[in-house]
Each structure stands twice: as C-alpha cells, then as structure tokens.
C-alpha cells in the first residue's frame, strides 16, 4: 500500500494539471492499481470533482470521461447499441464487478499496462484521448508515448460504423490475461490488435475481412513480437495470437458475412 500526506479534489482540470506537475504528487482514479505499490506520495489528486464520470453520445461520437468506471462501460446502452457485446467481453474477466465499479477508464489507459484489456479493445476502435496539457492525441500514439505528468481528461470514440470483437485467454477466470486480441472491420478493411504479448498492445491495419480468419491468424503470428513471462512462453503466445485472431474475425463475419 502507498502512503500519502495530502489529498486534493481540484475544481478544474487546469488545477489538477498544475498540481500533477509537482514530483511526488499523483493522480488517483479508482486507486485500484496504485494501492498495489508502495510508493510514497505527497498529494493524491482526485479527479472526481470534475464531472468526468459520464458517457455522452453526440455528433457521431462517444465522449467518455476519465473517471468513467469499467462497469459503466459494460452497462452503457449507447455503447452496447453501437458495439454489441464488445465492452462486456473486454471487462468481464477483470477481477470482479466490485473492482470494476471503481476501476476507471482514465487509470486503465494512463497506466498503459501491457496486459490491458481496455487498451487492446479501444485500439481496435477509432479513438483519441484528450490530455490536459498536450491536447488531443490519437490513441495509438498515446499508447506508445512514454509516461509523463499529463492528465487524461476524456476519451473520444468515433462511431463510424467500425465493428469489433474481443477475445482473450486467461489461466484462471479473474487472472491477468495471457494474451488479448481484438479485431475490427470498417467495410472490408480489417484491423487486428494483440496485447499482453506481454508488451503493450499494438495494431496491425490493412488486412481484408474477405480474406478470412486463417489469413488474419497467419498475419497475427507473423507481424507481432512476443515475449515470455511467468504466464506463458513467447512461442505459446504466438500460437494463441493466431487462434484468438481467427476467432475474433469469425465473429465479425458472423455478424456481417
């Protein structure tokens, strides 16, 4: 468990950003991940007073505040209407509903975990993140950026007709995933995202949905790099990448053959 001397609930995003520039201070979302560490913080900066806890749908896009919980994403009717079971499939293995009632979208993306179901899933869609300092940045770029002291305020998710399916493999039901995979299609243009490689998720664009699941599986095995850790070997992950990519593509084809 971490320690902290002060707690602040700023009234504006600018104030939160300014506070976060001080070394030793930290943003706290749900706090679920922070509490696993033993860091010594000066001030915890809680974003819960900024109205960043809702999902809005307008002008062909969803805007999700950083404090939206994973459970909100699972249950949101607008997201389900646009993306079917995608966000349920993304979140259902993350610890349990009590945890997902607190874990935030902002914390999940800002931490940029290699194993992140959330990052894998959102990379399959067309998203930008709104940062308090750096402004609007496409998610694929944010995913590769080094950690800095910026504050993630919102995620913009374009509702452009892209459909996606999510797959993952776990050793036990609520464990961290061995491999994550999302496939998405806009028309015939197919994208495959693989995460928990165990490195950060990344995307392969420019495939064709019409080429079918086996071609996508082969591309996933060949394009991505894989590593070994306590959960699986690189070789096993490479094999799984093909299996999960094929499954996800099959699901995309079933919905819209």
């Amino acid at each position: 468990m971490f320690t902290a001397q002060e707690y602040a609930r700023p009234a504006t995003l600018a104030e939160a950003y300014a506070l976060n520039q001080r070394r030793g201070n930290t943003i706290i979302g749900g706090g679920g991940w922070l509490r696993m560490g033993r860091q010594r913080f000066h001030t915890l900066i809680d974003l819960s007073g900024l109205g960043l806890d809702n999902i809005k749908e307008e002008d062909g896009r969803f805007t999700l505040g950083a404090m939206v919980t994973l459970r909100q994403m699972e249950l949101d009717r607008g997201l389900a209407g646009a993306f079917g079971p995608l966000f349920v499939d993304m979140a259902k293995h993350i610890v349990g509903i009590q945890f997902r009632n607190r874990a935030t979208l902002g914390g999940s993306l800002a931490a940029r975990f290699g194993f992140s179901d959330v990052l894998t899933c959102l990379l399959a869609l067309d998203c930008e993140v709104e940062l308090a300092g750096a402004g609007t940045v496409p998610l694929p770029r944010y995913a590769q950026m080094p950690y800095d002291r910026d504050v993630l305020a919102r995620v913009i998710l374009h509702k452009n007709g892209r459909r996606a399916a999510y797959e993952s493999t776990l050793i036990t039901h609520t464990d961290i995933p061995v491999l994550t995979c999302a496939a998405s299609a806009l028309g015939d243009s197919l994208r495959v995202v693989i995460g928990a490689r165990p490195g950060r998720a990344s995307a392969l664009d420019g495939l064709s949905l019409a080429d079918g699941p086996e071609r996508a599986a082969q591309a996933a095995r060949e394009y991505f790099s894989f590593g070994s850790n306590m959960r699986a070997s690189a070789q096993y992950r490479r094999h799984l990448a093909g299996v999960l990519a094929a499954r996800a593509v099959r699901r995309l084809q079933e919905v819209n053959p």
Partner: protein, 153 residues
C-alpha cells in the same frame, strides 16, 4: 482530512489520513463485519456498498467515500440472515471466511439484476473467492434464495 459519510443510514464525521483504506475506517467505526482478506483486490471478502454499488473496501480510500453512503452487513441484518439460511441449508458455508463478502455481493445482485440466470450469477460473483465450497453449493443457495425472494414480493 475531515470526512462525512453515512454508514448504514447514520451520519459519521471523522478526521482521516489521506491514505487510510475505507476498510480500516469502517472497522474503526465498529463495522466488524468488514473483513480483511487478500488486501490486493482479489478475494471480494471486504465488499461493502458505496451509494448502493458493491466495491472492495480494501481498494477504496476513506477520503474517496466523503459525502457518500456506505452500507455494510450491519445494515442488512435481516436480509443477510434470510440468505444465510439458504446458504446453511445447501452446505454453502464451510469455514465461513468468505461469507461476509459473498452475502454483500449476493444482496447487491438481488437488487441490480432481474431474475439472473446461472451464467449471470456466476459472472456477478466472479470476484468473490471461496476456498472451501467449490461454488456449486453457493450457487444452489443463491438460486433458491432468489426464487424465494421473488415469491415473497
């Protein structure tokens, strides 16, 4: 820092350190049903409700609960006893260690989901680990409790 929370319907004001887990705060207020298990958000034992939604009190800070309503097992005695009877009848409680968290989650589910099927029950309770029961007896107890509850309404 000074916080005001409502615990089981009663307002409490107290001075807390910014890094005090809600779990410790609640136990300090006499809510000894709130148990410490893994302390790493994995077991579900420390489940309480925050504004009616089940959360892990080991992973929430007391300061984050400021201005909000907390419910613990102490505030749900009657319902807990009703469900507990089904748990006992089905042999769903062996060492009993997981029971406080399980009961809090089941009672939250009974409010949130309308007539959940087996898969929905399993998904809702995935975060409540039990080392003894193998979950089947718990599942039977939950299904029978929900059916009884429906008839009672």
């Amino acid at each position: 820092m000074n916080i005001t929370v409502t615990i089981n319907g009663t307002r409490h004001t107290g001075e807390v350190l910014p890094d005090l887990p809600l779990l410790d705060f609640l136990r300090g207020q006499g809510c000894l049903s709130v148990k410490r298990g893994c302390e790493t958000s994995n077991c579900g034992l420390c489940t309480v409700w925050l504004d009616g939604a089940p959360v892990l009190s080991c992973g929430v800070l007391a300061v984050q609960a400021d201005g909000r309503a907390i419910t613990t097992l102490e505030g749900l005695q009657e319902e807990a006893a009703q469900f507990g009877a089904f748990l006992a009848d089905e042999g769903g409680e062996q060492c009993g260690f997981c029971a406080p968290g399980l009961i809090m989650t089941v009672l939250a589910m009974a409010r949130e989901l309308d007539d959940p099927g087996e898969d929905e029950i399993r998904a809702y309770l995935a975060g409540n680990l039990c080392r003894c029961s193998g979950y089947q007896s718990q599942l039977r107890a939950i299904q029978k409790y929900l059916a009884w509850r429906k008839e009672e309404r």
